[in-house]
């Protein structure tokens, strides 16, 4: 493997300095660990700012937040929650609809720490290949999870759901959930690159669908500066979303990454020595004018 592929972002560190080349990564880890700490302040230090877990929580005894996917499963299972659950889910839906659904995956979900580490180690060890399956598998998984709730009348997925199990475990006691963490780590390390978060996880699929119209997006607005070093591609958990935006000039595709599958992790912004990527809104997507366009003809 190309040494560059083992250590993407080296050029960015040299060009921008270590801090600027890891800015979004640091912010993201701060967000993930900070949220976890916020939930742990109660059980560890008896400071109750947030109660509950990501399934449903109550902040400062006023703000309810509820996982909309769980609420949907509960409704399919034929049960009816109380109004605070609907309010909580509406707040969560609105938030992720604005900032991008999969911000949940890269800025909140604790499993992301596990799979990011696995991917890092995979690069370091130069592991390649492994089992390949469609990224769309996750949408099938999402369908299966919803069908399970409908058919069994229980939240069957919750028996094995690693995402809720790990976060709940960290707050309420892990039990055997460490095995689940280890299994996902090994799966992503040795079986399939980004196998869990980018191929299988039904929560990721759900938030991906939710984020299709998200306001906050990453743009390759300086794509003409791209020197094809592939560093962004190597670090990206959803590589397929980069190409249309980065290489779409000739096809009249705008520089903004519009796919809901982009997790807004911002790692591409970090590792790019040419400063191609930035955060922006979806409305800043001005496709280049191609071919014989009237406007281009009248331009001086």
């Amino acid at each position: 493997m190309d040494p560059r592929e083992r250590n993407p972002g080296q050029e960015a560190v040299e060009a921008k300095g270590w801090l600027a080349a890891n800015r979004w990564l640091i912010l993201r880890r701060t967000s993930q660990l900070g949220l976890l700490l916020l939930f742990l302040l109660g059980p560890w230090f008896d400071i109750w700012i947030v109660k509950g877990n990501l399934a449903s929580s109550l902040t400062l005894n006023t703000l309810p937040l509820t996982d909309p996917l769980l609420l949907l499963q509960e409704l399919l299972a034929g049960q009816w929650p109380v109004s605070t659950a609907f309010i909580g889910a509406a707040i969560v839906l609105t938030f992720y609809f604005l900032v991008g659904g999969r911000v949940y995956c890269s800025w909140v979900c604790p499993v992301n720490l596990v799979t990011d580490s696995a991917d890092w180690l995979r690069r370091r060890l130069g592991l390649r290949g492994g089992a390949r399956f469609e990224r769309a598998t996750r949408y099938w998984m999402l369908g299966a999870v919803l069908m399970l709730a409908l058919v069994t009348g229980t939240l069957a997925w919750e028996w094995i759901n690693p995402v809720s199990m790990v976060f709940r475990g960290l707050i309420f006691g892990m039990g055997l959930a460490w095995f689940m963490v280890a299994a996902i780590f090994v799966f992503d390390l040795a079986v399939s690159r980004r196998g869990w978060c980018s191929h299988l996880c039904p929560a990721g699929a759900f938030y991906g669908l939710l984020g299709r119209g998200a306001l906050l997006r990453v743009t390759a607005d300086r794509r003409e500066a791209c020197d094809d070093c592939l560093d962004c591609f190597v670090v990206c958990p959803e590589q397929q979303v980069i190409r249309p935006a980065l290489k779409g000039t000739g096809k009249g595709i705008g520089p903004v990454i519009l796919s809901g599958e982009c997790t807004n992790c911002g790692r591409c912004i970090d590792v790019c020595a040419q400063d191609v990527f930035h955060f922006t809104t979806r409305f800043n997507n001005h496709p280049p004018l191609v071919g014989h366009d009237e406007k281009s003809e009248v331009l001086p």
Binding site: W48, K51, P64, A77, A85, L155, E158, G169, G173
Partner: protein, 285 residues
């Protein structure tokens, strides 16, 4: 369309279909496994008691989103969330009566905290909760049944005198003492588990069980004659007639405790007050 592009279109269609079948097969197998596993492990151990107001277990498992807010708002740390690997569906709340029973808070904070409706807000009075039912399950070892004074379960019961009463009974072993036997009444017992926690035995003789395990149910076609009679205000099948025993003149018998009765108003007694007269009488009684 020429031959080559037709072939490649065929290949593409073929790949598309195999990919779909492959994914659907894999995911379907996963779903089947998860469904079967969830179904199999839905059985709750008898010692795991759900919080007050919990829906029937089948509904509960469809409603509880496993957020732990009930656990957080339980002021006595009675409730806990099941960890992966425990025999209770993972992430759902329960308590073990022998370890920490429910203190039956009047404001029922666990129910108020529940966003999913798995703990039913229709439960307004904690006395109406039916978390389980206490059963004096081992009469062989309960020391009250040995004729010793204990009554601990009776005394710790929050609804003492209604949920658990003491029934006095003759002690046939000693012949001269009473036994003070605790008796649980399902119309008042909430299943809080205070009795089970307090039982002085090494292994509690009184235990809180899920109601469906603890209670029998009469066949729905059964009609208890005396209740029907009471409800109707009189006998429904044949007119009420006093039972006639084949007894000496002027005597009657009451089987409900009073025994042999002399008919009122009769001064003449068919037997002498001296027992020897009766014994020496010819022809027996």
């Amino acid at each position: 369309m020429n031959e080559a592009s037709k072939k490649s279109a065929d290949a593409a269609r073929r790949k598309f279909l195999t990919d779909i079948v492959r994914t659907a097969g894999g995911v379907g197998l996963m779903a089947l496994d998860v469904g079967l596993f969830a179904r199999q492990s839905a059985a709750l151990p008898a010692t795991a008691i759900r919080p007050p107001g919990a829906l029937p277990e089948d509904d509960f498992l469809g409603a509880c989103i496993r957020c732990g807010l009930c656990v957080r708002d339980c002021p006595y740390d009675t409730l806990r969330l099941s960890k992966p690997g425990e025999p209770v569906p993972t992430g759902t709340p329960y308590f073990v009566a022998r370890e920490v029973p429910c203190e039956m808070c009047e404001d029922i904070p666990c129910v108020a905290a529940c966003p999913s409706g798995a703990l039913d807000r229709k439960l307004e009075k904690i006395d109406d909760a039916r978390m389980g039912l206490a059963v004096l399950i081992d009469q062989e070892n309960c020391i009250a049944f040995q004729g010793l004074r204990c009554e601990v379960c009776f005394n710790v019961c929050p609804i003492r005198g209604k949920a658990i009463t003491l029934e006095y009974e003759h002690n046939r072993r000693s012949g001269k003492h009473a036994r003070f036997l605790p008796e649980v009444h399902s119309n008042a017992c909430t299943g809080c588990g205070k009795c089970e926690e307090a039982c002085i035995l090494e292994e509690a003789a009184i235990k809180v069980l899920p109601v469906h395990l603890a209670k029998g149910e009469l066949g729905h076609h059964y009609r208890l004659g005396w209740k029907e009679k009471q409800r109707a205000g009189g006998a429904l099948v044949s007119p009420d007639q006093p039972h006639h025993y084949n007894l000496p003149k002027n005597l009657d018998c009451d089987l409900q405790g009073q025994g042999l009765l002399k008919k009122e108003g009769d001064k003449e007694v068919p037997y002498s007050s001296n027992p020897l007269d009766t014994l020496n009488r010819k022809g027996g009684l």
